[in-house]
């Protein structure tokens, strides 16, 4: 018993280990602290530049003013954010369904993949703003237009990553499934889909940001339309009226939303993979 207890007591740490430990702790704190410090310094500099150069508020508002606008115009801004978010998440959901669906279709037959993958690439490499006028002609409903745009932008990383993932299955495991008489769907469900999970989640993280960008860009090219206008319309509107504080506030909301989407998706990915995948391993050895 005493032997066990003595094991649990911390062993003496030598100088090398101690400094490594210190460095690690510093790094952990620094990862958050330094960006925050730089951010604070930048905001302070922004404020000082405005004051010292007497820049008028319609050109560059002071940060405090932007913050105040964020609160004052909260009603307008957040309802616009809600519209943008709705498009973002709907298009992301459609991108997941479409991307994963197509990827599954692709893995069912090499021929299908060979025949259709190039079209997905074409859709991806053509700038969405160039396609939009066409969509504008063919589609009437504003929401559908925006959704379609955001979807085109977001679905490709999911499609290509998931296709890659579905095909990167251990060959021996495939043999094992074959040996045990697994049918196509069992192989898909028990083997290909789980194996593609890390790839899919990687694609999802990219697609999350892209669907927000898609939603905003689509609205920019579609132009504002009264009731249902999202953050992009607010930005255009504020630009016309030289309402710089609101423009900045809207901009900050968009960036902040993008960051939150990324963090949430990273967290989901971590939760799903943490028990098995290398990328989610803590390097504690």
């Amino acid at each position: 018993m005493s032997a066990v207890e003595s094991h649990e007591q911390p062993i003496a740490i030598d100088a090398e280990e101690a400094s490594r430990l210190r460095n690690e702790r510093l790094e952990r704190v620094g990862r958050w602290l330094f960006p925050l410090l730089i951010m604070a310094a930048a905001i302070l500099a922004w404020d000082r530049i405005c004051v010292w150069n007497e820049i008028p508020r319609y050109i560059l508002p002071r940060p405090g003013e932007v913050l105040a606008t964020l609160f004052q115009d909260a009603g307008i801004l957040f309802s616009a954010l809600a519209v943008t978010l709705r498009i973002t998440f709907l298009s992301l959901a459609l991108a997941v369904i479409g991307g994963v669906g197509l990827a599954i279709l692709f893995t069912q037959s090499k021929w299908v993949e060979m025949s259709f993958f190039p079209f997905a690439v074409i859709l991806q490499v053509t700038p969405i703003v160039a396609i939009f006028p066409l969509i504008n002609i063919y589609v009437d409903d504003q929401t559908t237009k925006l959704l379609l745009c955001a979807w085109i932008v977001a679905f490709f990383p999911i499609l290509s990553n998931t296709t890659l993932g579905l095909n990167s299955v251990d060959r021996n495991l495939l043999d094992l499934f074959k040996l045990n008489g697994a049918n196509r769907w069992q192989t898909l469900w028990h083997l290909r889909l789980p194996a593609s999970m890390p790839y899919f989640l990687g694609g999802l993280k990219i697609a999350g940001g892209l669907s927000l960008i898609g939603a905003v860009v689509a609205e920019f090219v579609a132009g504002a339309s009264g009731q249902n206008s999202g953050l992009a319309s607010r930005i255009i509107e504020a630009g016309y009226r030289l309402n710089a504080p609101r423009l900045f506030a809207a901009l900050i909301l968009i960036s902040f939303t993008g960051i939150v989407i990324f963090l949430v998706l990273s967290w989901i990915s971590h939760l799903i993979l943490r028990r098995w995948h290398e990328s989610a391993l803590r390097r504690d050895h």
Binding site: L173, D175, L176, N180
Partner: protein, 277 residues
């Protein structure tokens, strides 16, 4: 090359392998690949029910290819894989690869359950079978562990449990312990033998190691390369159960020396045949 059964000397104190009915014939089996490699040429082999048969040979002599042909994962270019007795079903062949080849996203239980699950056996129905298999390989209590939480040897045990969970009539193993350290390998050799001694399914075991093949097998098939073919068969007339005392016996040493000599000849034959070509 088939030896008469009665030619074997019986050893007092243990059971000599009593070969059962022929279970599988490889008849003039050849396998060539599209790139021109002839992996196997004119392989004739008889596997008997309850054999522990090792395929021993230099790298590239077609051991894995032979195993895949037997498993039905690939078809011979010519010749026949001729099963005897009741028709072979999905449950009748277990396969253990060189790597543990576990599904990293699934628990130990789910990994072992897999072959049964693919045949529609529910978790509840599979539970006792999986539990029993895990007990046999010494992994009781690790049901909910993930593969990456296990050591290399433990992963291999899971893989063996998965190979055996359907109660196959034939277990095919492709260098299963090659990646393990020697201590773990000895332990697993021992544990595999004790499972086999109880159940007497047929094992076809691919290995690079003379010592391992002699320790485990009732019969060793030595292969030569380029093209892959059967060079010679050796009967290992040592009684089971075998344990560490067998490993240190002079008998074991002699068998290893003999096997090693023949393996040397097989590799030499390979050089000569290439020079003649």
């Amino acid at each position: 090359m088939e030896l008469a059964v009665d030619a074997k000397v019986s050893n007092p104190g243990g059971t000599i392998m009593r070969p059962g009915q022929p279970q599988l014939y490889l008849r003039s089996v050849a396998k060539g690949f599209a790139n021109g490699t002839v992996a196997l040429e004119n392989v004739n082999l008889t596997v008997r029910q309850g054999d522990f048969l090792s395929l021993l040979g230099p790298s590239g002599c077609g051991k894995s290819t032979a195993l895949r042909l037997i498993a039905g994962l690939s078809t011979p270019t010519s010749g026949m894989i001729d099963w005897r007795g009741p028709a072979m079903g999905k449950n009748d062949i277990g396969f253990v690869f060189q790597e543990p080849t576990l599904m990293p996203w699934a628990t130990v239980f789910n990994n072992v359950w897999l072959p049964l699950r693919l045949q529609g056996v529910s978790r509840a129905k599979a539970e006792p079978k999986v539990a029993e298999m895990l007990e046999r390989v010494g992994l009781t209590g690790f049901e909910t562990a993930m593969p990456r939480e296990l050591s290399g040897g433990m992963k291999m045990r899971v893989s063996i449990a998965r190979g055996l969970v359907t109660r196959p009539r034939v277990l095919l193993m492709d260098e299963p312990f090659a990646a393990l350290d020697e201590i773990t390998r000895f332990q697993l050799n021992h544990d595999l033998l004790s499972v086999w001694e109880q159940e007497r399914f047929t094992v076809i075991f691919v290995t690079h190691s003379v010592f391992e093949s002699v320790f485990l097998s009732s019969r060793i098939v030595i292969m030569a390369a380029r093209p892959g073919r059967v060079f010679e068969e050796i009967d290992v007339n040592a009684p089971y159960p075998r344990d560490d005392s067998f490993r240190t016996s002079p008998e074991y040493g002699a068998l290893c020396r003999r096997t090693s000599d023949i393996l040397g000849q097989a590799m030499h034959a390979n050089v000569v045949s290439r020079e003649n070509a």
